[in-house]
Amino acid sequence: MNFIFNLTWREIRSSWRRLLFFFLCIAIGVGSIVALRSLIQNFSRSVGGDARALLTADFVINSSNDFSPTDVSKIEEVIGSSTIVEARNEVTETSAMARPVDKANQNFSFVELKGIEPPFPLVGNFTLSGEKPFDFKLLENKGAIVAPILLDDLNIKIGDKIRIGESEFQIRATFDEEPGGTGGFRLGARVFVSKNAFEAAGISQNRSRVRRRILYRTSDNPTDLITQLRETLKGTTITVQSYRETQERLGEQFERTENYLSLTGLLILVLGGVGVWNVARVFVEQKRKSVAVLKCLGASGNRIITVYLLQILTLGFLGSLFGVLLAQLGLWLAEWRYYDVLPAKMSYAVHFPVAWQGILLGVLISLLFSALPLLQVRNIKPRLLLHDAGGEKTRRLDWTKTIFGAISLAGLLALAVWQAGSVKVGAFFLVGLGFTSLFLYLAAVVLTILLKKIKNFGSFSVRQAINSLYRPGNQTRIILLAVGLGAFVVLAVQSLQLNLVREFDFTRNAKLPSLFFIDIQKSQIDELKQIVQMATSENVQIVPTIRARIAFVNGEPFDFENRETRQQQGIIGREFAVTYRPEMDENETLLAGKWWNGAANNIDDAQVSVEEEMSKSLGVNVGDWMTFDISGRKIQVQIANIRKLDLRNTRTAFVFVFRPGVLEAAPQTFVATVLKKLPATSRAKLQREIIDKFPNVQIFDVADIVAAVQKLVNNFVLAISFVGSFVILSGILILIGSIALTKSQRIYENAILKTLGAKRPTLAAILLAEYGLLGLLAGIIGTVFATALSFGVSRYLFDIDWEFDFTLTILGVLITTILVMTVGAIASFDVLFRKPLGILRSQ
């Protein structure tokens, strides 16, 4: 053992510079995994960690209608029999338009209005600006507490009055932290008023876009109470939500996100593994003579392999430790750069379990990727010290290698499954990566073969450069694979971003309206039409909408006690805006069943058309029966057909469309859309005119939504590009490593060329041409594959239009070429300044 440890230490001492790239490859991979996992865990702890604070209660009863007296008595009966309820309050929420009362101020804004009653909050903190505690007195006599951004949006100050619906509210304070946090996608700023003032503002009359919630705080686990409530309220559209279930759902979501992100980290680590494999391969090649000497001196093959394995493990471990350090630096960088968009109380520390996991992964990847090259040590025969025949003859089928290859592959699969948290996803990841690498590698092979065909053309420097790409032990294909993969990821993301942003650019979609007016009352239609027509000279389309919830499917209510059903609650349990019309829209295609002919004459003809994805979520088909709850009334309809919606070419998109003759008598509001693209000032003027005239009408400016979505897309792209840049970094490390590993040959060649009369500029030109060619090929491979992926994902996954981007393609190839040329030239520039005599002597 002494021999093994001593030699390991001595080898590390002398070879660490050569193995530095090995160390860095592992460090970058481990760093990515640890940083991504820690980031998402910290995020989930600060956002979803306390679902109770997020829900601001132990459990909540939700309804989109007024609670009927029957419902209230049912609820009270169950709650009354419980001894664990400590406190309750009611909250009503809606979105509305707000504008300053001051006529001279023409601003207006979309707001998220919340009516509250004491005691508030039941759970969580409500902190006003300037660290002042919340006092309910501030809301009395039509007071309002608003998010600071509203003051900027409306250009008003504390003490000013705003109009929401029929009422005027005085702004008494702004808040820093609201109960439940400010996360999620919100179009408008939050405004708190008292529940009574909310009801008095007339917003909730004749419309049902108001969410009503009763919140409860309990002294003990409320699970049994919730089961009882669900049983009692079965068949109504009232839902019960517990913080424990929310926590469970959030936990699952964050875990999934964490696992997917970890796979991205694993991709970088596997790329690092390719670097490790490469370094180990060339390292063994360089150590052939030393291995032969050791064998000659009596060391067995296994002992020598153990020495190198220990060396790899040590470096893998140290590299992983350094990776953890890099992860911490990355987290601090994220804090510095994204402090404003990440939660205020989020921690930026690496977690110990994550760090250990990363270190274990780093060491295992080092081991898996170096095992096969190290096995080559067994085939090195000591006789090469007498006659170096150059390379060892290997048996046709080396069983040990085959077995170790299979073990390495199985190990890699196990790591992917472990990181993905799913056998299926892990296997898909590995197979996907395998195929991508294989295709990239094949492309590299084809390109290098083509290049060989033209090696007799061009100047002396270019010919020499091409020859250099084929020198023995060259790393050309590996470099092309690694750098090409990096370029591929970054360019694919960029191309997808361009296509996504283009898709949301409403100026390109003639059918997408520029303005939506919703919650229009029947009595307001004519006047609103007139105003809009005056401003736009467009005949406005008016569509009736009714708010409905699904009560039963084929006579059965949803069982939200069932975990799977509960996970779908957001899709099937929500309130839908439904409509009725005699004809199909242009953007709709029938998939099954028939469209109706005329209005329904009696209750048996009541029919509905269901959108394709929804029919899948509900598991329904043509002929099935559905019962909808509309303002407390149950309406049973039969599914007449299943429809596909072309969202790219849409004006409105309804999941459920009813046959005329069913819903006409139900409480309804109307939606108006404006197609004409108006300049921003005209849009604002029209909106303000409508708000002044019809305070209850809500207006969605599509330009605002597009901007919000674009911001989301940009953040998403930024995050992926950030990860993509790590992939490129790994690729560059492999490039630098490969250059270092073939340096001695380059030095020797240059010495010969110098002896034969080549000047430094010629040698420099060869160097630049060699790396320029490598970069060009890697750029072409990356761009071609990125274009293919972007096309596939756009067309078949996102279902959006795809356009080829010429500028991106040219820039992609150009930047990759320059990058590889620069890195290659810097890493090998010193070769030009070596004196030839000493080099030739030493060979």
Partner: protein, 229 residues
């Protein structure tokens, strides 16, 4: 005692078989100094490599102290070399990543000798390189490297020392010095020394001279001068 019985070595060169050694039989008693000479390509180095178990013969047997080398596995051969054989190469073959001192230490560490360090220091001093132990091979001259290689070969008290043209890469002064050192150590330690050389004057100083030609033993005679020495 080294015994070679009808040893033949055939290698494949392109599409043809090339006979390097052809039915060679030899016996080398313990403590004998044998020089193997012959023209280039006569099979001298191959013979040496086969004795050390660095390669396997195509047919025939090689026995070292009664043990059949030709049937041993790679690891058994390594163990045999570690315990009984020292090897000196024409191009030294020191491990470049280790210092001179560590190069001498290696065989003893492989064998697990306890007094390895003090013996390595003694060997360094024996080859007159006491002050050069911390130098790497690239920092030493050819002669110095070969002296380190000799010290390494003697480290494990081998019974057999095999030297493949040890002075071939050195000038005559250094060459003589190395030869003297080898024979001196041979005399002191009573090892069998098999020396492959082109240099007839060195061969004449051995106790016995085997001449190879085209893979066959052309002559095998005792050297009067060598015996007298």
């Amino acid at each position: 005692m080294i015994i070679l019985q009808n040893v033949t070595k055939i290698v494949r060169s392109g599409t043809e078989d090339l006979t390097i050694l052809d039915d060679v039989s030899l016996e080398i008693p313990d403590g004998e100094f044998v020089a193997v000479t012959g023209a280039s390509g006569s099979g001298k180095s191959t013979l040496l490599g086969l004795i050390a178990g660095l390669d396997a013969p195509s047919s025939g047997e090689i026995l070292i102290d009664g043990a059949n080398v030709t049937t041993m596995s790679e690891d058994e051969l390594a163990e045999l070399r570690s315990k009984k054989i020292g090897f000196i190469f024409q191009s030294f073959h020191l491990i470049p990543s280790l210092t001179a001192f560590e190069n001498i230490l290696i065989p003893m560490e492989i064998l697990g000798l306890k007094d390895a360090k003090s013996r390595a220091e003694q060997l360094l001093s024996d080859v007159d390189l006491k002050n050069r132990g911390h130098h790497y091979p690239t920092e030493l001259s050819g002669g110095e490297q070969q002296r380190i290689a000799i010290a390494r070969a003697f480290a494990n008290h081998p019974k057999i020392l095999l030297a493949d043209e040890p002075t071939g890469n050195l000038d005559s002064k250094n060459g003589n010095h190395i030869f003297d050192l080898m024979t001196e150590l041979h005399d002191q330690n009573n090892v069998s020394l098999v020396l492959v050389t082109h240099d007839q004057s060195l061969a004449n100083r051995a106790q016995r001279q085997v001449v190879l030609k085209d893979g066959r033993v052309l002559s095998d005679e005792n050297n009067l001068q060598g015996l007298q020495d």
